[in-house]
Symmetry: C2
Subunit: 428 residues, 2 copies
């Protein structure tokens, strides 16, 4: 097909630059590589645990939302049907239910009109960056390493991302001060700083309470927004307040995800954007205008599935995920114990000790690149994620990310054992 | 909330330019205006007919897709559940079913790997424009007037849209030749021309077969893509081949929508992009890379709903929409007859006579702006869409669009009667 002249007009050189950016092409190569070794034990995929998935739940959740419309909101049958079948409002039909969930689980006081329901947290990130990126002066700050979805949204909006130092206590507020100063000196306008205070992807690290307060102070004093991503916050032994719960000045735009806590297949997330825009109402209304041009509205059916899960669990995802959280905690502790058992005391090999979430960072005294991953998959039957993918290929070449969310205890023991064999062979 | 200093940093002047573009703000004002008059008869909303909506169908469609996975694709129960609950592949999980539907209904031969399932046709348009817009030389051509969703996607990608003359026979291929020449002279690179050959929104016009062939020839000779939008093609007495069905040179990217033919609430659409990209495989693969950064993947639950509807109707939306098509045809003919009865022979008042779709264009010898619409809503109890909204507020000030899809015969008779009262009063 397409062997004639026209096809030659479509070449990578004439397409949008994001398509050949090293960050994106490297993730694509990574996924292809992982797909090549389906029998290897995957400590690479950050997907939620599957044992409690049950197809009947989808029907139950839909029914629960419809019943809520009938009983609590006095919607007639035609109205219930129309709510699910027809186009819905751009900002979404379950903002009130999400607001109750945020009050219940996170102590966040979100007005429903400040909530924009999106196609996953990914669309929310895109909308925020697209709204904020007005011209070539605008830059975004983000910890290095950072979530690849943030990198992707920035690429789609031609937004440069400047790295901020990240430690075992999360993003470093003092380095943020330095980066803000540097941006100012270079005539750049920092619109926001992206941050994941709870069990970040990829590192697994969290910020302590003083660091959260300090970060809010720095952002507020400098008039920049904080984009808080909280996809993993639920899955910890200890729960610290989110930045949004601490925010008293409209500094934080909260990016919510139901992918890990609700259901990945619904593809529902949201932004809480209660900032006032001079001449433009709520920031949420501006996000909504752009969403109308991007996806029109989030599928009401998908929204109903998530709302139904919330309704059947008293608006609490903490309650809905009691079993899952226990499994993630068990897996995390087991992974750390197995790392200690297999690799403890080995010179130059260390790992961090997150208290929740899906991820552990392992540091080794040799290069971790995609070639090593291919070798690990082929010769040791274990998969992980080289950390350089989260640095856009510019750093992190002696670290790897382990994911613990999808595995059984037996697979974790075997997976760490295989990883240890790889590492000791390299050191040998 | 947010009464402190920070909020002042967010002002419309420092946000992305699309947010204050006249095309978008005018559509927003229009929607607000329409919401203000809920009791008026709306000949403004282009939504599908609701009488056959039935909440049980959602369950039936989900079940049908799951059964298809079990029976036809031999997927085990864990696999079926995972397909709906878990993240899916970025290009979508129902590409093969869409390909069979295109063969069945449109005589289009689409390889499943050239299909990218999207969050409605709107995301497909965004992805195509984002992929094609590499630098400031790139422009898009589109008929004037044009669908507002196309204007929106262009604004989000900073893509200038150059108008091409449109007649009762759709976009004018000879004016396309002129515009291509003009673009070349100005150092611009035309990447594509957007076109809706069947019952276009907003005009209701269609292209005849010679015009389709001529358009394909012009595009192929000039090495530009045609973006074919076919949201309404099913709803006509006569069915002409789509551009994609006639395409032998990979000139056409086909944008598919299930909003009118499947279910708006699923928010599922797709692109067929079988072009080869030098150094990058299929064009569909490039769209998919960007989709991964925008919405990750289209909700598998929403995809399953659409797939189920196709499976229960032998892959044919023509078959699935027999009753709806009859109603749209009845409504269209009744609207035209009522216009004739109420306004026939009135000097300067005329309308076109589409043979399918949702829309009729009425031309009057006075200004049709939002002020007139407010007057019509308040004093005559009827709503329509001023055509200038589809020209980005730059033209069309003596035309209006009537939508016929959502009404009963009684409401059409009363609506046209009220419209006639407004028009005759104006001509007074």
């Amino acid at each position: 097909m397409n062997s004639n002249g026209l096809s030659t007009h479509l070449s990578m050189e004439t397409l949008h630059g994001s398509l050949t950016d090293p960050a994106i092409s490297s993730m694509n190569l990574l996924n292809e590589l992982i797909d090549e070794y389906p029998v290897a034990i995957s400590m690479a995929a950050g997907r939620p645990y599957e044992e409690f998935f049950d197809i009947r739940l989808i029907h139950d959740y839909l029914d629960a939302y419809c019943e809520h419309l009938r009983r609590d909101r006095k919607v007639d049958e035609a109205g219930v049907t129309r709510a699910l079948f027809q186009y819905g409002t751009t900002k979404g039909i379950i903002a009130d239910i999400i607001a109750r969930n945020l009050a219940e689980d996170e102590n966040i006081d979100a007005a429903p009109e400040s909530v924009v329901v999106t196609v996953g947290a990914q669309e929310a990130m895109f909308l925020v960056l697209r709204t904020l990126r007005a011209d070539e002066r605008d830059v975004l700050l983000a910890p290095a390493p950072t979530y690849v979805g943030l990198t992707g949204a920035a690429l789609l909006t031609d937004t440069p991302v400047w790295p901020v130092r990240s430690t075992e206590n999360g993003i470093d507020p003092e380095d943020l001060v330095l980066q803000l100063k540097r941006a100012d000196e270079q005539g750049k306008r920092v619109r926001a700083c992206y941050v994941t205070p709870n069990f970040a992807n990829p590192t697994g690290t969290s910020m302590d309470l003083p660091a959260r307060h300090r970060l809010l102070d720095v952002a507020e004093a400098n008039g920049i927004l904080l984009l808080e991503d909280n996809a993993y916050g639920l899955f910890g032994a200890e729960r610290l307040p989110t930045l949004k719960a601490l925010d008293r000045s409209g500094t934080v735009v909260y990016i919510g995800s139901f992918a890990k806590t609700g259901m990945p297949g619904a593809r529902v997330g949201y932004a809480v954007a209660d900032q006032r825009v001079a001449g433009g109402g709520l920031f949420a209304d501006q996000l909504s205008k752009l969403k109308g041009m991007l996806t029109v509205n989030t599928s009401p059916i998908a929204q109903a599935v998530i709302a139904g899960k919330l309704l059947l669990n008293d608006y609490s995802l903490t309650k809905a995920n009691v079993r899952e959280t226990a499994i993630y905690q068990r897996n995390l502790h087991l992974t750390l114990a197995e790392l200690d058992r297999r690799l403890g005391g080995l010179a130059g090999v260390r790992w961090n000790t997150p208290t929740g979430g899906f991820f552990v960072t392992v540091t080794v005294p040799f290069v971790v690149d995609d070639e090593l991953l291919a070798h690990a998959a082929r010769d040791h039957g274990v998969l992980f994620t080289p950390m350089h993918h989260f640095y856009g290929g510019k750093d992190g070449f002696n670290q790897l990310r382990l994911s613990i969310s999808l595995l059984t205890p037996e697979l974790i023991q075997e997976g760490v054992s295989r990883l240890a064999a790889l590492i000791t062979a390299r050191l040998g």
